[in-house]
């Protein structure tokens, strides 16, 4: 894309600007970084800077990064040569009469070509001579660009198909202040007043602007911390082995998937119409890792009693938190969001599909199922890990 047919001024031949077709071939989805990925980092700070190589800028016909080097001036030529990593063989080619351009190669030029041209300046490889004609280079570059763009788009489409990136981005839009406030809310939810979700027209606002929004950052970090703390506690009880970390991680993941499946199925079977998405459920059920980590850390200080007291307190406050949050989400739900996902699928196409009211009793049952499940799973995930007390034999052995 940096190829510049107007470079050789000596010819006096001004070719029509071909850049437009190049840019069209690139399309809007492939901005500059795709091209600049081929450059060494020292080459160009900005490709669109016409003054990049210190040449007399304003009279240049283009601004595509390569400043056409005057044939008389030796030093810009030199610098360009350094910057593009040209071998002297290329120099002879750049100085070739009229038609031969001194192209700046930052596009997807095949590296083999540069090497071959460098090592063989003359006609030693005549089969490569056609590559030195500008039109062939242009075509090859466009073709390569298009191929690369197609490949990139294909990968992106496939990735989008399997992983809902846009949805996940919403759940990770957090900042430090939000994390602090959310943690405080998880452990002291009693004085919080406003539990309703804020809406920006149709979509809920990002978590960083709304403390009541579910996020996946805390669950993810809690999960990782849980695995590490589990390793720590196993080590304190002399039960640690490296594969234990993997086992704990796998077990916690299995529990998460299991309870998510249970909640989804029960939402479906109880025919609860709600705007609660599966990822929301994952977020709300993932907050329990924070509680588990706190309980386990308490058990390192106060052993069994500390663990049980912490578990009771965090279960209580987390249950309070979940009840308030899910109650506003489930029971007082008149949100304008369209239902999506398997939970909201209504096989009979009722006219009241978008109405989430009704079924209050079933919704309450579901609410208590979730809360009880959280407490149960928090206990199951930590009961084999907490430090029961100082074992005198173990300390003797450690000494």
């Amino acid at each position: 894309m940096n190829y510049n047919p107007n470079a050789a001024q000596g010819g006096g031949r001004v070719r029509p600007i071909k850049r437009v077709s190049d840019l069209n071939a690139m399309g809007p989805t492939a901005p500059m970084p795709s091209g600049s990925a081929f450059m060494t980092p020292t080459v160009a700070p900005t490709m669109f800077d016409p003054n990049m190589y210190g040449g007399p800028a304003p009279q240049q016909a283009n601004s595509y990064g390569y400043n056409a080097a005057p044939t008389s001036a030796a030093s810009p030529q030199q610098s360009q040569q350094q910057n593009y990593g040209y071998t002297p063989g290329q120099q002879t080619m750049a100085n070739a009469p009229s038609g031969q351009p001194a192209f700046g190669m930052s596009g997807p030029q095949p590296p083999a070509f540069g090497a071959a041209a460098g090592s063989a300046p003359g006609g030693q490889y005549p089969q490569f001579s056609m590559f030195q004609q500008p039109i062939v280079q242009d075509m090859a570059m466009q073709y390569g660009q298009r191929l690369a763009d197609q490949g990139k788009q294909l990968v992106e489409n496939q990735f989008e198909k399997w992983v809902p990136v846009a949805k996940l981005k919403y759940y990770f839009a957090v900042d430090n202040a939000y994390v602090g406030r959310k943690l405080r809310l998880l452990f002291f939810p009693y004085i919080h007043k406003d539990w309703s979700l804020k809406y920006d027209q149709e979509h809920p606002v990002q978590p960083r602007y709304d403390i009541n929004a579910p996020d996946l950052y805390l669950p993810t970090m809690g999960y990782i911390t849980y695995v590490i703390v589990a390793g720590l506690l196993l080590g304190m009880q002399n039960r640690f082995s490296p594969e234990q970390l993997g086992i704990q991680a796998s077990s916690a993941m299995a529990y998460s998937i299991f309870e998510l499946v249970i909640y989804s199925i029960s939402l479906y079977v109880m025919n609860v119409k709600t705007s609660l998405k599966t990822l929301d459920l994952l977020a709300f059920t993932g907050y329990k890792y924070v509680n588990i980590v706190v309980c386990l850390l308490m058990s390192t200080l106060f052993f069994r009693s500390g663990y049980y007291i912490a578990l009771a307190y965090t279960s209580f406050s987390f249950g309070f938190f979940l009840l308030r949050t899910l109650r506003t989400k489930l029971l007082q739900d008149n949100t304008p969001t369209a239902p999506s996902g398997a939970i909201n699928y209504d096989p009979y196409g009722n006219p009241q599909q978008f109405d989430y009211s009704g079924g209050r009793k079933r919704k309450l049952y579901f609410l208590f199922l979730v809360v009880a499940g959280q407490i149960l799973f928090a206990f199951l995930l930590s009961k084999h890990l907490y430090l029961p007390g100082v074992d005198p034999l173990a300390t003797l052995k450690a000494l």
């Binding site: 086992i247 077990s251 299995a254 998937i257 079977v269 025919n271």
Partner: protein, 80 residues
Amino acid sequence: MFTLGALMEASLLCLNAICVLHEERFLARFGWQQRRAQRRYGPPSTTEQVLHIIRSIRTVAKIPLIFVNIITITFKLLFG
């Protein structure tokens, strides 16, 4: 220990169990057969939802389950 492997095994067994349920021979005895004719208006009841999910699982998972079962049985015979 309830790990991911155990979860997969359990879900495989559960799916098998659901697919095995026969509509006329087994479910009809409990009055759980499909009654599309006398469906009244209104939201579907819990029983209908359960039936629906059983039928959906049977439709979707029957053929993949055959291959997964074969693979699992082979591996269990060889390594487990």
